[in-house]
Amino acid sequence: MKSILNILQIWTKELGYIFKDKGILIFILFVPLMYPLLYSYVYTNEVVREVPVVAVDENNSGLSREILRKIDASPDVEIIARCGNMEEAREMIKRQDAYGIVRIPSGFTKELAASRQVPLGVYCDMSSMLYYKAILVTVTNVSLEINKDIKVNHYVSGTTDRQDEINRMPIEYDYVALYNPQSGFAAFLIPPVLMLIIQQTLLLGIGMATGNSRERNHGSVIPFDNRYKNPVHIVIGKALPYFTLYLVLAVYMFTFVSRTFTLPQLGEYRTFIAFVIPFILSCIFLAMVLSSFVYRREDCILLLVFLSVPMLFLSGLSWPSATMPDFWRYISCLFPSTFGMNGYVKISSMGASLNDIRTEYMGLWIQTGVYFILACLFYRRQIVSLIKNIQQPYNPTQNHEYRNNMPQCHQTMANDERRQHMELSSAQAKITASRP
């Protein structure tokens, strides 16, 4: 009972700190609320349509015109110009007016009539893989289509239309893009990014709060307060405000953001909640462990923001983890985002149950446990060093950790410290008596 009361006291105190600090609020409230909307807006068109290409028709026959017509009629590619020769076409690529060239060689129909294979030239600008994909898929589709016509009309014509159709395609096939039917970019990228935003903003927010308290309490991450003496209570008390806030934010992402931008929503509500609890907890405890490196409130922005990009790649969502070197695969297990992003994609896009994502779910709970213990150890060390500092007689040349890192305001700090030391000495007897 007493410990619950203690945790509640720490909780309210931390809540006060958080809501008074605009810098922290930007990261833990504004960014998680607005960034998903901004990001979804960027990718809202999902797919690339009408990639501009130029045609070089050296053959200029009925068949070559039919091929170009079919390419132009496809949704992904648009023929913006017809050029007389390759030089002209290359010039358009250089100016980035077009991203590809389709070339039909001059002997095209002649070769076909002589029953020889003839190539259709496709030149792609490689600045974006999506252009390459659009152009290549379209031209391949058209060539297959025309091939079948040639095959049936010239060589293996049947007696009925149905027989022609079977000759065109002795075995039919079907292609199903599971979980992302239109192969959209938003449906692929946004769901994992939502989880990454949760982790990164938590790391930033908690790191900033820790830096803040170091600045306020002269290098110590905990205030000199009777209530802050049990590491487990501190960790739980500090985690609670973030946990409740992020549970709400996660639900906001799962429901509001997904619905507004029509992202995949196959997930079950209960599965999501059960999954996101260990995810948020492990992020919070990891943030507490990492914040031991943060001495100034702005430090964490410098340390953590750029890590978002490598973490996205470590998750194996954009770069298949099957082809990742083992070393990086092991490293990726250290971050909750890896399990969190994969698990979330499986829940929301593929409709997985908790049983299907056992690996991710267990991984997150293990991380929660490990980081919780590490966070407790970190705070225990802080308490011990705080008490040690207080018990020692004051010595201005003593090499405090924070002083190393704050040389420029040495003078003011030392003065402040002297004043604080006076206050501390009077409280010294009290704290030694109540020491655990």
């Binding site: 960027v42 293996v156 039919e172 893009a177 599971l178 593929m350």
Partner: protein, 390 residues
């Protein structure tokens, strides 16, 4: 004191500050090097090959087994195992064991022989975009081939040679020429932009951090006096060490990419090094501009720099083309240094064209460099009046 001496003394003051805190060295040296190492080793395989796929063969005849062998022989697919039913394969896909599977229903061979046009199907997991797209390409080829294999057998039976048969089955072939990246190496495609993107992010953040720290520690007036009451001298002296360090990082990155790993670089390495240095100065200038715009509010400036840096990965348009975004964003993309870096890189290293084709981006980069002059008066009042707010 001359301007040169003032800059020199501020320069030295700056270096002493770096030496006292490991954070600076981490951001300016360790993090960039780590990023280069991370991304190049992560994608050292180039185009992902041997992606795991599965098969559900309910037919189990020699024709269906031919299809399985065909798929396995394709470069990007590694047929790891077969599953007894559709449901099992779907579960395996959920667990992440396979990215795609092929489904051959029972009776396929029988129907094909009886000319009844059976249907086979394949499923790819497009929630994993790259893996899904690559496997889609392979499995489509295999599906086409399986149908054509039947026709080919018929033609052989009629006495056609292989060349004859191929001319009948596939009279028109598609010959692709990927300009500049012939091996379709994903590492070339992604690393060339992601690593500079991270550099730009780090440059902008450390610019606003090191400037802001003067106000935070209340040293801004001392710096101003040291610079002979000139904001331009103060900022130049302060940022010059970072310009040098980050330029060295860009050179390291260019040497790694174009000399050691042999990424395509048709323009030669020098234009890329020049581009790198211009990018460093442009990003620093942009950081100075943002900081000045908000009259020295370190927090706001750093938040904006993070937002800008992270957003530039999307708006540079190298994964998802800017062309396909809404018009507002197309316009906005001009305000991101990474966007111009990307356009100039494509023009120079990838395609080896004369730089005049991207004059607009070069001009934009130079505009970034000139931005700080707009906010110098604001810096003056910030130096004299403004105090740090947490």
């Amino acid at each position: 004191m001359t301007v040169y001496q003032r800059i020199k003394s501020i320069f030295g003051r700056e270096l002493r500050m770096y030496s006292r805190r490991p954070l600076f060295m981490f951001c300016m040296v360790v993090a960039p090097v780590l990023c280069v190492v991370f991304f190049t080793t992560l994608m050292n395989k180039g185009l992902p090959t041997a992606l795991p796929a599965g098969i559900v063969d309910e037919d189990n005849t020699n024709i269906s087994r031919t299809i399985v062998r065909t798929i396995d022989a394709l470069e990007e697919t590694d047929m790891i195992r077969s599953y007894p039913s559709f449901g099992e394969a779907r579960k395996a896909m959920l667990r992440g064991e396979i990215y795609a599977f092929f489904y051959i229903p029972s009776g396929t061979t029988e129907q094909a022989i009886a000319n009844r046009q059976p249907k086979i199907s394949f499923y790819t997991n497009e929630a994993y975009f790259v893996a899904g797209s690559l496997l889609m390409k392979d499995l489509r080829t295999a599906s086409e081939l399986s149908g054509l294999a039947l026709t080919r057998e018929t033609l052989y039976a009629k006495g056609a040679t292989e060349a004859d048969a191929m001319a009948i089955i596939r009279p028109i072939t598609v010959e692709t020429h990927p300009i500049g990246n012939p091996t379709l190496d994903y590492g070339v495609y992604l690393n060339n932009i992601i690593v500079p993107g991270i550099f730009i992010l780090l440059i902008m953040l450390s610019t606003s951090y090191t400037i802001g720290i003067e106000w935070k520690y209340g040293n801004q007036k001392r710096l101003y006096a040291l610079a002979g009451e000139s904001s331009a001298v103060a900022l130049a002296g302060k940022l010059l060490p970072q310009t040098i360090l980050f330029s060295l990082m860009f050179i390291f990155c260019d040497v790694c990419f174009y000399k050691i790993l042999g990424y395509p670089c048709r323009s030669g390495i020098w234009p890329m090094i020049v581009l790198g240095i211009v990018t460093v100065v442009a990003s620093q200038a942009f950081g100075v501009f943002l900081f000045g715009l908000f009259t020295g509010q370190m927090r706001v400036a750093m938040c904006l720099c993070s937002l800008w840096g992270i957003l530039s990965f999307s708006l540079a348009g190298f994964t998802y083309p800017v062309m396909a975004m809404s018009p507002v964003l197309q316009w906005l993309s001009w305000l991101f240094p990474l966007r111009h870096y990307y356009l100039i890189y494509v023009n120079q290293a990838l395609n080896g064209n004369p730089v005049t084709y991207v004059w607009a981006s070069v001009a934009a980069m130079l505009c970034f460099v000139l931005l700080p002059f707009l906010v110098l008066p604001k810096y003056r009042s910030a130096f004299l009046k403004y105090k740090y707010q947490p």
